[in-house]
């Protein structure tokens, strides 16, 4: 199981898009998440959110909700959310799930 630590990406996760600020959710998705999914398969990765200074909701929505917009199947992303590690703040996991579900509903309709 490949563990992706967001802390290795940045201690200060940024905004939604890179043009708004550095270490954005968009960049995390494009440079870390999608390549890892491609290399290891989505069922073989987990994501560790601990250790950073905190997450703005835009980062979370763009990184995880954005996976659906990038064409990753909803069922795969929901199962990925079960492998998110967030001991410091478990509310991040439920927030990420809510973005995945919202985006999934948008794509289904």
């Amino acid at each position: 199981m490949k563990v992706i630590r967001v802390l290795d990406f940045s201690e200060f996760p940024g905004p939604r898009h890179e043009h708004i600020g550095p270490f954005s959710g968009q960049r995390f998705r494009e440079e870390v998440l999608l390549p890892a999914i491609k290399e290891h398969g989505i069922n073989n990765i987990s994501i560790d959110l601990d250790g950073t200074a905190g997450y703005g909701s835009s980062f979370l929505e763009e990184a995880f909700g954005g996976l659906i917009r990038a064409g990753v199947p909803y069922s795969d992303i929901i199962s990925l959310s079960d492998r998110i590690i967030s001991d410091e703040d478990p509310s991040l996991i439920s927030e990420v799930r809510s973005y995945i579900k919202e985006e999934g509903l948008k794509h289904a309709s």
């Binding site: 905004p15 939604r16 898009h17 708004i20 600020g21 200074a53 905190g54 997450y55 703005g56 909701s57 835009s58 929505e61 703040d89 478990p90 509310s91 991040l92 996991i93 439920s94 927030e95 809510s98």
Partner: protein
């Protein structure tokens, strides 16, 4: 004959002294134990109440900052402050949870962060006080502040 009667009397005296002594010791021990338990319970309750106070204070600071950020033209509050205040709320709630366990309101905490920070860098501000974002934020905040685990009880 007289000697034997005195001895029996003395013996009875010793026995009753020992019984009374033991009884007194047991009763005192029980009393001390009950008093100790009550003192511990009281201290624990006071700790819980102090934690609840700190939690309400953290939630109030967060709420004020969010309203300032979203409704004031020249708010001094920055986005990273909102994240930091939100984290303090979580830590304060965790402290209460540690002393008096309850189910952590993770979904509501996530909703608070969402309404406070989603697209905060790019969204148009200031918002009117009756905006949907602020209404949703207040609703989530009320869910936590009015929850049973933040009510003091003796």
């Amino acid at each position: 004959m007289e000697e034997r009667a005195v001895s029996a009397f003395e013996w009875a005296g010793w026995v009753s002294t020992v019984i009374l002594g033991l009884g007194g010791y047991i009763i005192s021990s029980l009393g001390w134990r009950v008093q100790g338990r009550q003192a511990r319970d009281l201290a624990c309750r006071q700790d819980i109440h102090s934690s609840i106070d700190r939690c309400h204070a953290a939630l109030t600071v967060f709420e004020d900052a969010v309203f300032s950020y979203w409704t004031e033209n020249d708010s001094p509050v920055r986005l990273d402050q909102l994240l930091s205040y939100h984290r303090r709320c979580i830590i304060a709630l965790r402290q209460v949870h540690k002393l008096d366990p309850f189910v952590m309101p993770d979904e509501t905490l996530g909703e608070l962060r969402k309404q406070a920070t989603l697209d905060a860098e790019s969204a148009e501000r200031p918002l009117p006080l009756n905006s949907l974002r602020l209404k949703k934020f207040s609703r989530a905040m009320s869910k936590i502040t009015e929850a049973n685990y933040l009510l003091k009880a003796w």
